[in-house]
């Protein structure tokens, strides 16, 4: 069954950018629910559709969190009350991870999706099929996406 075969991987790929694992699982379930309701998506290349929607949902959530964080900082600034760090905050190890996430959320969605899939051990062919890309042009896309990632990262945090 499709759910059993792909749920773990979908949840894991979402968890790459969404810090909270419970939230990642929620999003993964929502993706499957979408698939369930959307008959068109159940045609050919269901897996491609699944991962495409999953990375898009994950990046949307990332952007939402970034926005929320922005508002929360604004509110905290107005209220001048330090918000206590949640266990997740403490647990979420590396600052670097957060930086990579914030850069991803700022990138063009297609490039961010691309990089995210690539980071999750999908081959170029798989990525191309998931994102409905022409396998021949994948090389250019890789370098372009990597270039924008690097530029955005350096712009934000300098060369590290």
């Amino acid at each position: 069954m499709l759910f059993r075969a792909h749920y773990e991987r979908v949840a894991q790929i979402i968890a790459r950018v969404v810090r909270d694992r419970a939230r990642s699982e929620d999003i993964a379930v929502e993706v499957f629910l979408k698939l369930w309701r959307n008959y068109k998506a159940q045609g050919q290349n269901v897996e491609g559709w699944l991962y495409r929607v999953a990375v898009r949902a994950a990046l949307d959530e990332l952007r939402r969190q970034a926005r929320r964080g922005h508002y929360e900082r604004m509110v905290a600034w107005v209220c001048a009350r330090p918000t206590p760090a949640t266990p997740e905050d403490i647990h979420s190890v590396s600052q670097k991870q957060e930086k990579v996430r914030s850069v991803l959320s700022a990138l063009e969605p297609r490039q961010a999706q691309f990089l995210l899939l690539r980071s999750h051990d999908f081959t170029y062919q798989e990525v191309a099929s998931i994102l409905n890309l022409n396998p021949a042009s994948i090389g250019t896309l890789v370098s372009r996406a990597q270039e924008s990632f690097r530029k955005e990262y350096i712009k934000r945090y300098g060369q590290e």
Partner: protein, 248 residues
């Protein structure tokens, strides 16, 4: 950019992206996810059922609204109610002190206008009777509140010599007033007034109610919505004055 640096950059990006990999192995609970998916699916179906219920409710509400009186009528009833409550809360005004003493009254401006049936309504013809002259319009809410009271007064005091005359100040005259008359059962003559007459009675805003004594003199002028009880007392007082008394 030479090939080496490009490869180096790629490695740099890959290295950064690799930080996203979880530090520990994490296996999401598939069965819990599946259960949640089923729950959500069922809830989604019940959502659509809810929509059906909501639309049925809306249709019923629309029907109710169509059956119930129109908002204007409803508003009018509310206004009537609140006026009644307000007037019952206020201490009733000392009515007798309000009307002018016979010696201080001046002659009421006369008018000769036709009512809806084409009959003449002339104030001086009504000497010997107490006349309540009410300036009103079909669009004035306050007027609509007090007109039923005047209908009551007319019914109650007609035998003792009261005549109510409604002078409509509607700009388009009978065009508005005729349909209005059809709707309400007014038991006293309604005529169409004019600006000059309104001015003579000191008409500034709607409504205005003047009480004319048996001798044809203005005993009281009340701009705005009248106080029902006070007006009734004034009418009674004027009815008690005899025609002869007024001439003295």
């Amino acid at each position: 950019m030479d090939k080496n640096s490009s490869v180096r950059d790629n490695a740099w990006v890959d290295e950064h992206l690799a930080t996203l990999s979880p530090s520990d192995t994490w296996n999401p609970d598939v069965s819990a996810g599946l259960q949640r998916l089923r729950e959500l699916h069922v809830r989604g179906n019940s959502f659509s059922k809810r929509w059906i219920f909501a639309s049925m409710g809306a249709v019923v509400a629309c029907l109710c609204l169509m059956v119930l009186p129109s908002p204007k009528v409803l508003a009018h009833r509310c206004l009537e109610c609140s006026v009644a409550v307000w007037q019952s809360l206020l201490p009733s005004a000392p009515a007798l002190t309000d009307i002018k003493s016979p010696s201080g009254r001046s002659l009421a401006p006369d008018f000769n206008l036709k009512d809806a049936n084409g009959r003449d309504v002339k104030l001086t013809d009504l000497k010997g009777k107490v006349v309540l002259v009410n300036f009103w319009t079909t669009w004035c809410e306050g007027c609509q509140v007090e007109i039923p009271w005047f209908i009551e007064f007319q019914k109650e005091y007609e035998a003792r010599g009261l005549v109510v005359i409604g002078i409509s100040m509607d700009d388009d005259g009978w065009k508005s007033v005729r349909p209005w008359l059809k709707e309400k059962k007014v038991n006293y003559p309604i005529v169409i007034g004019n600006e000059g007459l309104g001015k003579q009675y000191g008409l500034d805003g709607m409504p205005l109610t003047a009480l004319v004594d048996r001798e044809g003199r203005i005993a009281d002028v009340h701009p705005g919505l009248v106080d029902k009880a006070a007006t009734q007392q004034k009418i009674r007082a004027l009815l008690q004055e005899s025609f002869n008394d007024a001439t003295n």
